[in-house]
């Protein structure tokens, strides 16, 4: 792999950039792999990467029915944070956040992780108590967050109206090392690194069946033929339910549409990420200058990657109330993704009823920020059969009544 650097760019500039290789190789599937990961989104590629990097397992194929990074990895609002309340969540999201800190250097690919700070606004007494509790929990979890008052909120984000007539800002939970990253680059960076380790990333390859013998996985049928494997990781987000059905089991998930939008680009005016859960909206400004805005999910199952306009309307209304200056900005583009939501809105990283099949899904609206942690944990689970990061996220927890509920701190898992 050719190393990326300013020097390399300068050298290539002298020869019309003819020397750049493919970022990831284009290969036909082999007959058999040790591990097949289905889904070349951020989570799938990260799983493959850490299988190779941490466990030396490189006879790996990542199968993708569309184009790499084309699902929710490339459709989210790029927020990274780990200020979760419950221990298992804080553990995996903080693992992810800490890996984001060094990801550009690890992958030799600039994913533009920008720890610009993130504030979750408290606009009711209930939220004040909820976020103070989260701050307390975070202190014990090794997650650096702090409760800040309304004046500090205003200092960090001067464009905010903290004294709106309906929901004045009472303070916020601030994570200084939360922020954003360039979402596509995360997928591309992992893909390049995986390819460099000799793994095969096979796009336009749709899995149509899971082959089993005596309750153990032996391979998959795909649009490019049958491929054998010893272990299979299903990392297909919104389509996890469809895929589980192929393997003969059901998952406690439902797929719904989540929408986002961006404004036209303007000069920098907002240096932090702000989430306002009472009014249902969150916003940050991309390096390009666009205000990146997200809101809530539809209440019904939907695979169209489109959503209903009234959600956009609610979100924009909430944000105009919170940031009055955006009223004269214009919405450039809105889009939707399919997110898979579990019974407690926390993810599943788990063994399954089929020996050798592992599932990673249910990230709901919180998937992007988890990518490296999820990949790290999933790789450990697949390689060793157990990981402290995934223990609590078993698909069997629902049967035991052992939920990981993040909504309790008024924090939706965006």
């Amino acid at each position: 792999m050719k190393r990326y650097s300013a020097f390399a760019v300068a050298r290539e500039a002298m020869r019309q950039h003819k020397g750049w290789d493919r970022a990831w190789a284009k290969r036909a599937p082999k007959k058999k792999y040790d591990v097949i990961i289905v889904g070349a989104g951020g989570h799938g590629l990260a799983t493959a990467y850490y299988l190779g990097k941490n466990f030396g397992i490189t006879n790996v194929a990542v199968l993708e029915k569309g184009w790499l990074g084309g699902g929710n990895t490339g459709r989210n609002t790029t927020i990274i944070r780990s200020n979760y309340l419950q221990d298992p969540s804080a553990a995996i999201y903080e693992k992810a956040r800490s890996l984001y800190e060094t990801m550009s250097q690890d992958l030799n690919y600039n994913v533009m992780f920008s720890p610009r700070g993130l504030i979750m606004l408290a606009q009711t007494q209930h939220e004040v108590r909820g976020y103070q509790r989260t701050a307390q929990a975070n202190a014990l979890q090794g997650v650096q967050t702090e409760w800040i008052g309304p004046q500090r909120v205003k200092e960090l984000c001067p464009i905010m109206n903290i004294s709106g007539p309906r929901y004045p800002v009472l303070g916020g939970l601030y994570q200084e090392r939360g922020g954003t990253a360039r979402h596509d680059a995360v997928a591309w960076g992992y893909a390049r690194a995986c390819s460099d380790m000799g793994m095969d990333i096979i796009q336009q390859c749709e899995v149509t069946g899971v082959r089993q013998q005596n309750g153990k996985v032996v391979g998959v049928d795909t649009s490019q033929g049958a491929i054998d494997c010893d272990k299979l990781g299903m990392v297909v987000a919104g389509h996890a339910g469809v895929m589980a059905k192929m393997a003969g089991f059901r998952l406690p998930i439902e797929s719904v549409a989540l929408q986002a939008l961006v404004s036209e680009p303007i000069k920098p005016c907002m240096d932090v990420v702000v989430m306002a859960n009472t009014v249902h909206g969150y916003m940050s400004q991309s390096d390009k200058g666009e205000m990146v805005i997200g809101g809530g999910t539809d209440g019904f199952n939907n695979y169209t990657q489109r959503g209903s306009f009234h959600h956009i309307e609610e979100t924009v209304r909430a944000l105009v109330e919170t940031f009055p200056m955006i009223s004269r900005l214009k919405m450039l583009r809105q889009w939707g993704g399919i997110v898979d939501v579990t019974g407690d809105r926390s993810p599943i990283l788990s063994k399954t009823p089929v020996d050798g099949v592992f599932v990673n899904c249910g990230w709901g609206t919180g998937g992007f920020k988890a990518i490296p942690g999820s990949g790290w944990a999933m790789a450990e689970l697949m390689a060793k059969g157990q990981s402290p990061l995934t223990d609590e996220f078993s698909m069997y927890r629902f049967r035991e009544g052992k939920f990981i509920d993040e909504s309790v701190a008024a924090g939706v898992a965006h």
Partner: protein, 109 residues
């Protein structure tokens, strides 16, 4: 922005007048049921990409719950019907079969 026909009051209601209530025709498992059955009832969902049966309440209208047969891939609505039934009426099933031959959902087909 979906429109669904409320089978009680006859209104073609906008999605904003409705409240989505998740999967329909769940069979309640109560005391005496196994852990498996209870988990199935509360959490396991069909979540199909295609024909689906789901609950809606005409929340900002007549207040009634009703059921809808809808395609989650195209958002086509095959029909809506009253909630007081354990399975979709035959005319709804026929309507689906006319559009999606060979469909199945849970034990319905």
């Amino acid at each position: 922005m979906l429109t669904l026909h409320c089978p009680y009051c006859g209104v073609d209601a906008d999605e904003t007048d409705l409240h989505a209530g998740g999967e329909a025709h769940l069979k309640r498992a109560s005391t005496g049921s196994s852990d498996d059955a209870f988990e199935d009832y509360l959490f396991m969902r069909e979540n199909p990409k295609g024909v689906h049966f789901e609950r809606w309440r005409h929340a900002y209208g007549c207040g009634k719950w009703f059921l809808a047969a809808r395609c989650t891939a195209t958002l086509q609505v095959f029909g809506t019907y009253r909630a007081q039934t354990h399975e979709p009426p035959q005319d709804i099933k026929d309507a689906i079969s006319a559009q999606r031959p060979g469909w199945s959902w849970g034990n319905f087909r």
